[in-house]
Symmetry: C2
Subunit: 344 residues, 2 copies
């Protein structure tokens, strides 16, 4: 299925220098899809000229006269910049002209714009940020990664419902396993919110595995890992920090002397394969779940390859019918809740 993706061409630390080449590169891999570059036409056209690429039926420019600053307060962006590249890209999802949008802009502003323009899916209070992380078996979906710092048990349940729908769409699994991030696998462990969430998850129709710990995320114990946004964000950044430190140590050890440098040269294909498996750019593109539309947030500092990966995520989610999956899950859950209410 071919899809149309709206790209906020102005967002991110590097704006069109990154977003435009990424879009062009994406279309080389997926020539059937269509990209709408949203932003200042002059700037986008200049980038396209530099790449010797012309617009066409699969590569369109949609004008937007404003740009949301990376540090701009979300509410201000929402109120004052109605013609920002971010807002217009989200509008294209709302109107159905695009199946999904991607932005490397300010997370808070993107979240606020998504909520305001697209609205929340029925039954969901709060959007969550989800991404896929590599593990020894493949990859797993983790959420929330920072949208909600204080959560109650029901929020965690909603995250689980949404994460399960996302994982089932992307991993092509009928009934993905869901783990609740905790500090011990025993049921008695954890804080009150997590204990209550475990009860709700037990009662739900989800394939609830039980508690998982920080290291289980990378052992691939479950397909989905659920936590509040504070814990998720710390865990994600811890993982990034450790991976970077280890990469640095390996480089240092291979750079110690002329002999080790020679070994590094010989081992280059092995070391590159290793690097590729952990390349965080391949995991760029977090989904803002809970909205009535697909909005993917790229890392602000993404380079062209990383942004390309974020576009791929958006397209994959659009193709997979993820939104319907979530709605179905929510409906089933509400239905079973009503049944319980009738019975009791």
């Amino acid at each position: 299925m071919d899809v149309t993706i709206a790209v906020d061409a102005m967002g991110g630390d590097h704006g069109p220098h990154v977003t435009v080449p990424a879009a062009v590169e994406y279309l080389r891999s997926f020539p059937g899809d269509t990209i709408v570059l949203v932003g200042l036409p002059d700037v986008i056209e200049a980038e396209l000229r530099a790449l010797k690429v012309a617009t066409g039926p699969h590569l369109l420019i949609h004008a937007a006269s404003e740009v949301v600053g990376m540090d701009e307060p979300p509410q201000q962006a929402l109120r004052n910049k109605k013609d920002s590249s971010m807002r217009v890209a989200v509008n294209l999802v709302k109107s159905g002209e695009a199946a999904a949008c991607v932005s490397a802009g300010n997370t808070g502003a993107l979240m606020a714009t998504g909520r305001y323009v697209l609205k929340m899916l029925s039954g969901i209070d709060r959007p969550a940020i989800a991404t896929f992380l590599p593990n020894v078996k493949g990859k797993a979906c983790m959420l929330d990664l920072g949208a909600n710092v204080d959560c109650n048990a029901e929020h965690l349940l909603h995250f689980a419902l949404m994460g399960s729908a996302l994982a089932s769409a992307i991993l092509h699994k009928e009934n993905p396993t869901v783990g609740l991030l905790n500090i011990g696998s025993e049921e008695i462990k954890g804080n009150e919110v997590v204990k209550q969430a475990a009860e709700l998850l037990q009662q739900s129709d989800l394939n609830f595995y039980g508690n998982v710990e920080g290291d289980d995320v990378f052992k691939g114990v479950t397909d989905v890992v659920v936590c509040d946004g504070f814990v998720g964000n710390v865990s994600l950044k811890t993982a990034e920090g450790v991976a970077k430190m280890m990469g640095g140590f390996l480089k240092e050890e291979f750079g110690r002397n002329i002999f080790t440098k020679f070994l590094a040269l010989l081992s280059m294909p092995v070391l590159n394969a290793f690097k590729r498996r952990l390349d965080h750019r391949r995991y760029n593109g977090a989904t803002l779940l809970g909205l009535r539309g697909i909005v993917v947030k790229s890392h602000g500092s993404a380079d062209s390859f990383a942004f390309h990966c974020a576009i791929e995520s958006a397209a994959e989610e659009a193709r997979s019918g993820m939104l319907r999956h979530i709605s179905d899950h929510m409906e089933k859950w509400h239905h079973s809740e009503q049944q319980k209410a009738v019975v009791s």
Copy 2:
């Protein structure tokens, strides 16, 4: 300064098979120190015989007739096993016969026993679990790692005071920097507890750096990283999980075919140096801070080398006068609080 360390010889997954050889090995490195092996004399003696080592003035056996099970509820262990190797080891610290004790036993029971026997330092409500983690600049102290799942701002301040004292004793720094683990470096970020804790830390005499994120822990941004036990535990285990996954990937890539295996053989010294730098066993030994005595918890599954490292931590803390450091910090803080109260 020579110190005496009480070792709970029966604790951990492997008991005396690990603790006794570790103690013997430790004394080879630190012949001036003294180790008291606490537990069932027959079993300990059998281990010593197997190692062809005799007791002497630096290697003593102290009888204890009971053993706390790894899954035994802490309160039950405390009530019913007054002659457990764990309890007797802590008693030796209380009586001053040992400067510190080390146990690989049940964390909850060790914590409960420590609190009951040694009591808390004045002004501290809750003990915290602290450990040193490697980073690109050396190592930093992180706490709490799981003793307290629900914390208020004042608890986080106490952790900071204790962690700063520990870091200053171990890292030999006059005024170690303290970071507050959060999900963004801006002051407006984070949950309510963290925001309040930041204010308390600002007002304290500590060298408060501000907020740090998960990746900053491994960049070595601060000497101390403070967080609640839930977040700290998840972060610690995430780090372990990522390190293990990356080690596995590296092994896989070097094991792909005969050529890569040959490269691995050639690169062995480099790969071993890399492995050594990240060897989690070197970081074994978490300190239960806040007690009126030094209690170090080894990982339950520690091998002899890892347990040796935990004994080293305990000895280093005993030598450094860490407890006095903490008391001084607490007194200074209480004094400045009283001053403020008088002024206002």
